[in-house]
Symmetry: D2
Subunit: 349 residues, 4 copies
């Protein structure tokens, strides 16, 4: 690697942005060329995220102050809604830049679906059409040559990796999918909210957006693509008193298939993947196995109810659920080995 | 109350035993007359549970050393398997004593079911037949005059309170019940196990006994009683990094009913209950609402999947899920107001 | 008790206010007659603190809307600075009302000290002069007949209970006191701050206000009263990832005394106290022993450095460190047994 | 690097062993050639530490089964007491092997001190004499050519890095050192102990070994070396409900020096160090800043007590406090850049 690629991070004061910085700062082919956080412009990263105290990072600026023509790629960790116009502006300043967006703004393929779930018309419709859904393992051929990747959120990444190979193979009923999801608190972001205070969130468990969470739209879209039909899933998330981690317990109805059929289908789908792993028969996926890493662990279990099974997937919501997947896609787009800079082993305990 | 009843606690060195002591020590009609923990006989309770340092409690003895003829009731917090023979001995020493058992030993009505789930023949079969299943709200008339109460565990208490009124009224399909349960770590007991160490259990979430947990037998038994038929449920528990708390997210298929029908049925069942509460429409049950209290909170939510709904119940596994329910039953058996000594408000934060 | 006293809680949406409600709602001699939280006026308490869902409590109002003439006492959980003028207004509306203030506004006896530590002149100087410092065990005779009690914060309560009997007896050097304090997150309040988010505060420990915390002024004032001289203490607090709890590790230099002398002095001071307990020689004070209770546990330990010792005190910052002490003082002022309504046993685990 | 060095890890089933594996598995110059854990011989590492599921690691064996002649180095994570004889056997099998010991067995230079603190005569006295105390920043010239390194524990590493430059320069009184230490739960090891269960250790803080902890012997030894005199320090550790992390709050008496003098001395000592960092004036060291990394952060603060100051050091007890320091020393011994394989950025949140 003679010349390193210049990568900017938009939204460097949030958790997905900071995890992108953690990974990019040790990526051998990359130099972090700009960091933006409009509310913190002028500050050092160490003031916003003290754990970066020992790194030499660019000072935070407003995103408008970046010379986009000089960047090779941008990892975007801005909130949904705000993202679409900024990405449009960045691409207009530098049409050749590669955009790895971690927000929800470009994930929905259908403009009506976007308007329904996000409450307003999309403000960069042409980009919505161009964006490629960035679930690496499912869309590699489309991601590699693309310019704008809509990296899926943590919930869809876990649920889709567990379910798509099964519905695609017709092994499970696509119209009876129950996904009980559990997420760590970083999934709720770094904004100041009462329910994410330590004293409110610790030592307790809360369901939220019961059966109505926005991210179910992505799951339904991609299960729909896999089956060629419109589906509705139950997706009910719960906040768990841990910082990182995402685990989906998926309850599926079998179309005459066995648990071994399910395992075989997942093995076919992921047997050669560097980051997606089918758990051995006696192995239970748990969030601790993947914390801080880009790995996903999937297990299949028999249900005592006749004709049903349980599929469990776990990942780190900030890595394979956000920043790690963005970098995995970036590696693909630059033609680098896909695992470059993503070799971190889970930090346990 | 002229004369207080003498109550012994068996298994005082475990979490259910200690929570029974916490409640009994402030119960106005009761004196704690004996505490046993065979492995700690001779010690003060403050050596085994330092948070009792300011209480004046009996010294721990072996259970064999108690003069059972002098006790009016016993709350039993011993492990399953060990309990049945000890309870038989206690009842043989004092046939008039009231036994509140918090173990699983007398919960299953069917001896074959017991042998299947617990791996050995029951060693006190005549008592298995006599024992009354101690889910207070469902079995009050049988509990009041009984001698031996098999208090249900935390998982069945939460799941059954949520589901029995619905299956009994024929509102939901008894043959398609998916119960995704989340429990705090005290549910795993005070025994020394690697997976319950702070460093192993903290900052992570683990499913376990996926679809195969023993307590599903109690749920199936009682749903079966409610419907008059044999049912199999999916029950999948998860360990959550919190000490106390239990929350069951139940995914049900509607028999033509609406979410409002479900709410109405639960309101009919629990409208006058002191401890079981139907959440208002915008209220989300969460474990923090009940920590340290005997309350149960149940919510009903629409599923976006046609013909399905989500019912969520939460309780404190050591109170309504163990010691609190035992004392609630004891109050019934002694003819005291049912909430006596159980007025604790949830401790939050 | 024929007629219950009417008690209002000001600042019911904060943690000290809500813990006062938890305790008052079960106090046998009290009825909660008004709850105020100006930002939440019109809401039910269950909307602001969902764990009160099963209690029948007054709707929240603005403090100005309370008919103060009809209240017998008020427990005030407002922020410092805001409190002084509101308390002045309440006392002006009803000069006979008993005020239990949990803020810092009336704790400092010296107006210059107040201005120094809080950055502005006191706005109700005559009340500053009238207020009695509400550390129950030290000032009972003054508290009982008083009208306005300045209940000390959690840090001073722990530190002073540990140290005052020792400095008073001349056993330790009042000019070489190092107090290393550790507090749970509720001590930082319910306001929205980045450093109290679960993801920021969990799994980590932070010192703050190192050697400069405001509450050291109360400690210095009271040590000064005890010794009749001006003292400066080192007081360095640390935020610990737990919701409740306060522990002060005090490093003292002995004036020729022994550890046994220290224990004897503390035993003399607290031997008959209902809430302050000298730990036995092999007992280690820890926050879990007092969580949710009004108890304080104090231990004395030898230092291997010649002529030094370590004194450790622990309490629940929201109970003996705030709301519990307020109610203990209220009991004194109404002539009730001091432990009325404060019999809660620590909730463990 | 043409040929990788073969490194074995002894005690692979403990936390220091597993963190050594996490680091060595990504070390570019190393191949993990053997893993031992006698109680788990024959198992895959993924059975003992499931988070290694995606790594290809040697099967666990008994330490006696390793062909020591084929190893270049060994990182030893065995308990103290057991270590000394095993290290002797390993060195006898291969006198050229480099030993990085993370236990306490070879840290004390004086045989009487060892016998005093560990309760038995040392069983490999000649090695005790040979071993080099492995606090990298202080003993680089001795470590590089050595064969057996006694890597210091987490407490001494933090305390000594904070204090040695100050006592050496005569800026602080070596005879009045108070070190209040706070440690995460992994510091208590992976053995099954009641006080390290999640339900016992969570949501609370406990001091232990108050003023008498074994590791104070290392601190006293090294302060003694720095000053050329015998010293006694106060060292009081506290268990904090977090998995990793170590923070020492050191209260020092100034020998006429100022806080700026202290900062200057630390800057001189560590200005060029890759892993030890003096915090800026407004920066507060906290454990989150170093979790999972080999970094140490040290801050200096004025005390309001005349002539005193507060020095705070934080590190990750499993990295710079154990495995990271071992590998840092190994890098030195093999002549590699000292930070090789230790570039991990702190994982936050």
């Amino acid at each position: 690697m003679s010349v390193k690629k210049k990568v900017a991070v938009l939204g460097a004061s949030g958790y997905t942005g900071s995890d992108a910085i953690r990974l990019l700062a040790r990526h051998p082919n990359v130099v972090i060329s700009a960091l933006t956080a409009n509310a913190h412009a002028g500050k050092a990263m160490g003031e916003v995220f003290p754990h970066f105290f020992a790194l030499d990072l660019p000072v935070l600026t407003e995103w408008e102050a970046v010379d986009w023509a000089k960047q090779d790629a941008v990892v975007c960790g801005l909130p949904h809604g705000a993202t679409q116009e900024i990405v449009a502006a960045v691409l207009s300043a530098n049409p050749a830049i590669k955009v790895l967006d971690m927000s929800a703004d470009f994930r929905l393929r259908d403009k009506a679906a976007y308007a329904h779930w996000y409450g307003h018309e999309h403000r960069a419709l042409y980009l919505q059409g161009e964006a490629v859904y960035g679930l690496t393992e499912l869309y590699r051929p489309k991601i590699a040559p693309a310019r704008l990747i809509a990296c899926p959120g943590c919930y869809p990444t876990a649920a889709l990796l567990a379910l798509v190979p099964l519905v695609k193979a017709g092994l499970v009923d696509a119209h009876d999918l129950v996904i009980d999801a559990k997420s760590g608190m970083t999934g709720a972001g770094r904004g100041l909210k009462l329910n994410t205070l330590f004293s409110e969130a610790g030592e307790g468990l809360s369901p939220y957006s019961i059966g109505t969470h926005r991210h179910s739209s992505e799951i339904e879209q991609e299960i729909g693509v896999a089956t060629g039909t419109t589906v509705t899933v139950n997706f009910t998330p719960h906040l768990v008193p841990m910082a990182r981690g995402e685990l989906c317990t998926c309850y599926v109805r079998l179309n005459g298939a066995t648990v071994d059929d399910l395992r075989a289908a997942l093995e076919r789908a992921y047997g050669h993947e560097p980051f997606v792993h089918l758990a051995k028969k006696d192995e239970i996926p748990q969030t601790r196995n993947v914390r801080g890493s880009n790995h996903v662990q999937i297990g299949v279990f028999a249900d005592r109810i006749n004709g049903r099974a349980i599929v469990i997937a776990t990942l780190d919501n900030l890595v394979k659920g956000s920043a790690g997947q963005a970098i995995q896609n970036m590696n693909l787009m630059f033609g680098w080995p896909e695992a470059t800079g993503l070799e971190q082993i889970a930090l346990f305990p």
